[in-house]
């Protein structure tokens, strides 16, 4: 019951003509998007490009520094082996993630959504529809690899003084590599949807569980405390042992890393051989997936479309009742709106699952940091690492507010016929969202920082200061998210991710980042310097010590007052702007 069995109908286009038609379609859409983007969203495009360039060069510098350090400190053979291990591990992790992410993206684009529903009613080969969506999936799931992988590989080439053809091979190798896991992910998805359409949710859950367990195990094995001090030869050997898993010569990540290292080592023929090997496998998996799609895609689509969704019955649970009781001190409208928002958030796993994964990874990392790892050689690191952990948690919270809090007001757009007709002041709606956001941020933020501080064994004064800072960050980030969300809403858009990806979301992320930097610089940095001095750590201060002491003390006093002031302004000013805009907002 597949098209592959039927003879091609007369008068319909050849595969090449179909392919040309789709290429023209893609090009026209891309051209329009770019033209619109540069005409209407210049700031957004400039920010995205600027921040990407900044990130690229930041990563490049970090990796360049790391490779230079390794080249300087390690003997040549050990250095080469370690670089191969690092490349292997990095690309192995990406290989597994790309199989999964391309499968998930293809599930959304091949089995849900209006475009394929429209294309399947036209006389188009199933293989062509598949290839069209497959290329999108490859692009979507691999841009991160290019952004993260290319600075690392270029930095290595610069440090290793690689010949020109190494740099020429980097991009083709990365692109060819990406097609292999994407093709495997596509074949696995089609097989699941064709053979076990009714078990797809169970299998997806199982795959997520296996992936998470593998990630936890992999990170645990990497991050668990080594039996020796950092950066000693024994430490390097121990790390190499832990990376053995990713070194199989039949794995594409090994071909990629070997090909790159051979090219960097002046053996262009070996590099070229690995490039050809990668391209051949990329084409094989792409063709395999296309042929498989030609045979099973329509049947799998019809099976998936024919599955009855189980009725999603819900009832007020203990959580809602407890929350309602806990919020008893608030006015009923505020309380009801907060409970409604919590319910909506809880019942949409797509909303919180990615955040939960990030949170779990940080939790895992924080449980693994231990002062003993640092004290032997680099005791001042405890102070620095605790500060960096606080910064990372703050930045994670800013992505949370951009992704989840900023879209809250926009998402009410189409539902405003309900909220807008209730006897509730409009500003109450915004304050309810502000409190919802503070509540959602405060617990994970505070607990993560507490865990990190406890594991690192930082002084009590710093623990208190970090908790205070996390409160300031949560208040400010919530105010920025809700206020800007009300000032720059996209009321016709129903997808939170698209709202977050718009101009307002980008601005929210930038303002939030600046706010975090400011609060940390004003409120937290002087505490760390002060504590570091009290811990009698060495500073290359010389004669400047008295001046430095006065400066730190002044910074401490000014920062203690300015930090809360900045947080109050960040919370209240956007809220005030947002409330004014929200009062005037018309909902169509």
């Amino acid at each position: 019951m597949t098209t592959a069995l039927a003879s091609p109908p007369p008068g319909l286009p050849s595969p090449e003509a179909e392919s040309r038609g789709f290429r023209r379609l893609e090009w026209r859409i891309l051209r329009t998007r770019l033209a619109q983007g540069f005409a209407l969203s210049r700031l957004r495009y400039a920010l995205v490009i600027g921040l990407s360039v900044l990130l690229w060069f930041g990563l490049y510098y970090l990796v360049w520094d790391g490779f230079s350090f390794m080249k300087e400190k390690l003997e040549l053979r050990l250095h080469e082996d370690l670089v191969q291990d690092i490349f292997n591990a990095f690309f192995f992790a990406l290989f597994l993630m790309l199989i999964f992410s391309s499968g998930v993206i293809l599930y959304g684009s091949l089995f849900r959504g209006g475009e394929v529903r429209c294309l399947l009613t036209m006389p188009i080969r199933e293989e062509r529809i598949f290839q069209h969506k497959f290329q999108h999936a490859v692009l979507l799931s691999s841009w991160g690899l290019i952004l993260l992988g290319s600075p690392m590989l270029v930095a290595y080439g610069v440090v290793a003084r690689a010949p020109w053809y190494y740099f020429a091979m980097v991009l083709p190798m990365l692109i060819a590599f990406v097609f292999i896991p994407a093709g495997i992910g596509a074949v696995l998805l089609l097989a699941v949807m064709y053979l076990f359409p009714r078990k797809r949710v169970h299998l997806l859950t199982l795959a997520i569980a296996v992936l998470l367990a593998s990630a936890v195990w992999f990170f645990w094995s990497l991050l668990s405390r080594p039996d020796t001090d950092l950066f000693t030869p024994r430490w390097f050997l121990e790390m190499r042992q832990r990376l053995q898993l990713a070194q199989g010569s039949s794995l594409p990540n090994w071909w990629l890393s070997s090909g790159l290292l051979e090219a960097a080592g002046d053996t262009w023929s070996e590099g070229l051989m690995f490039l050809v090997l990668l391209i051949a496998n990329a084409l094989f998996f792409r063709e395999l997936a296309g042929m498989f799609a030609a045979r099973v895609y329509r049947t799998a689509y019809c099976e998936a479309a024919g599955l009855a969704s189980p009725p999603a019955r819900v009832q007020t649970g203990w959580f809602d009742r407890t929350l309602d009781r806990c919020l008893g001190f608030l006015s009923p409208p505020l309380r009801l709106i907060i409970v409604k928002d919590v319910r909506l958030f809880r019942r949409d796993p797509l909303q919180w699952s990615q955040f939960l994964v990030l949170l779990c990874l940080l939790l895992l990392y924080f449980t693994q940091v231990h002062p003993v790892t640092y004290v032997t050689h680099l005791s001042q690191w405890v102070n620095i690492v605790s500060f960096m952990n606080l910064s990372v948690v703050g930045l994670l919270m800013s992505t949370f507010t951009t992704r989840f809090v900023f879209p809250l007001v926009s998402l009410e757009g189409r539902r405003f016929w309900l909220l807008g007709l209730l006897p509730v002041k409009r500003e109450s709606i915004l304050w309810a969202k502000f409190l919802f956001s503070v509540g959602c941020l405060l617990a994970p933020c505070g607990l993560l920082i507490l865990l990190s501080d406890w594991r690192l064994g930082v002084p009590a004064v710093l623990i208190v200061e970090h908790q205070w800072t996390s409160l300031l960050l949560c208040l400010g980030l919530s105010g920025i998210g809700v206020g800007l969300g009300a000032r720059l809403p996209l009321i016709t858009e129903q997808s939170p991710s698209r709202i977050a990806a718009g101009f307002g979301g980008t601005l929210n992320l930038v303002v939030s980042t600046l706010f975090i930097v400011l609060v940390l610089a004003l409120s937290t940095a002087p505490f760390h310097i002060h504590v570091a001095r009290q811990m009698a750590l060495s500073y290359p201060l010389g004669d400047a010590v008295p001046v430095f002491q006065v400066a730190v003390r002044s910074w401490l006093i000014v920062g203690s007052l300015a930090g809360p002031a900045v947080s109050a302004v960040a919370a209240l000013l956007p809220m005030w702007i947002g409330i004014r805009a929200f009062r005037r907002q018309e909902f169509h």
């Binding site: 019951m1 109908p9 286009p13 038609g21 379609l25 209006g114 529903r117 009613t121 036209m122 329509r298």
Partner: protein
């Protein structure tokens, strides 16, 4: 010609279409009616290749829609109830893409775009991005897309929703004209007055089965209500399955 040959389609334990046997010959405008959940959309989706029957066959111009969906869809023009348009393409670009996928050469595509532009009065907005179109404009463009390749069979799901009176008139005239030109037209609708006005035959689906198949006059005769409107007849035929509360609210 459209043929449903003892077609069964299940969704889990629910039988959405149960042994549907129906033939719609060329030159007929057939209205498929039924309450929500009766199986109309499932029937249409099997016809256009978005669902496959669990039993029986669906054929378009003699081509099995499950075995050879590509050829079957080349004979079909489909106007769905929820229209998907590429928002970043203009109406003309979308028509060109459709023509190309149906194997029309450039000259033929240009000629037919001009024909549909005139028929549906698209000239004022054809080169604008479809994201700027109103519902009526979108509906007219979708009709133009469905008819661009001169299909033998036209399938229309809820054609009147959101149309202003003038556009509704245009659509009704068009459907009649297509049937007069010898094409097979299948229209699924809740707008009973339209079915009453333009359909040659009516099929009333209820719980996956055809409760009635015939002309309006035959329906009146069957229910012994010679002067009643289709709305009254439809409610009488289908209300037996409604709950007592629903009957009270919607008698």
């Amino acid at each position: 010609m459209i043929e449903f040959d003892l077609v069964v389609r299940r969704f889990g334990p629910t039988v959405a279409v149960n042994g549907l046997a129906l033939t719609i010959p060329p030159g007929e405008l057939f209205a498929l009616l039924g309450p929500n959940g009766a199986g109309k959309t499932t029937t249409i989706r099997m016809l256009v290749g978005l669902l496959q029957p669990n039993a029986g066959q669906v054929r378009v111009c003699g081509v099995d829609c499950s075995r050879n969906p590509r050829e079957a869809s080349s004979h079909l023009g489909y106007v769905p109830d929820e229209q998907y348009l590429y928002e970043k393409l203009s109406g003309r670009e979308l028509l060109e893409f459709t023509g190309e996928m149906h194997g029309l050469d450039k000259a033929a595509t240009r000629e037919r775009i001009a024909r549909e532009t005139q028929r549906f009065d698209l000239a004022g907005f054809l080169d604008n991005l479809t994201e700027t179109y109103s519902h009526g404009m979108r509906q007219r463009l979708v009709f133009a897309i469905a008819l661009l390749h001169d299909p033998q069979v036209l399938v229309v799901d809820e054609p009147m929703v959101g149309l202003d009176p003038r556009s509704a008139r245009v659509v009704k005239d068009l459907l009649r004209a297509e049937a007069r030109a010898g094409k097979t037209v299948l229209m699924s609708t809740h707008t009973l007055a339209v079915a009453e006005e333009i359909a040659d035959r009516i099929g009333i689906l209820n719980r996956g089965q055809l409760d009635f198949l015939g002309t309006l006059a035959e329906l009146r005769q069957e229910l012994s209500a010679p002067h009643q409107a289709l709305e009254h007849l439809f409610l009488e035929l289908t209300n037996g399955h409604a709950s007592p509360d629903a009957k009270e609210l919607f008698p």
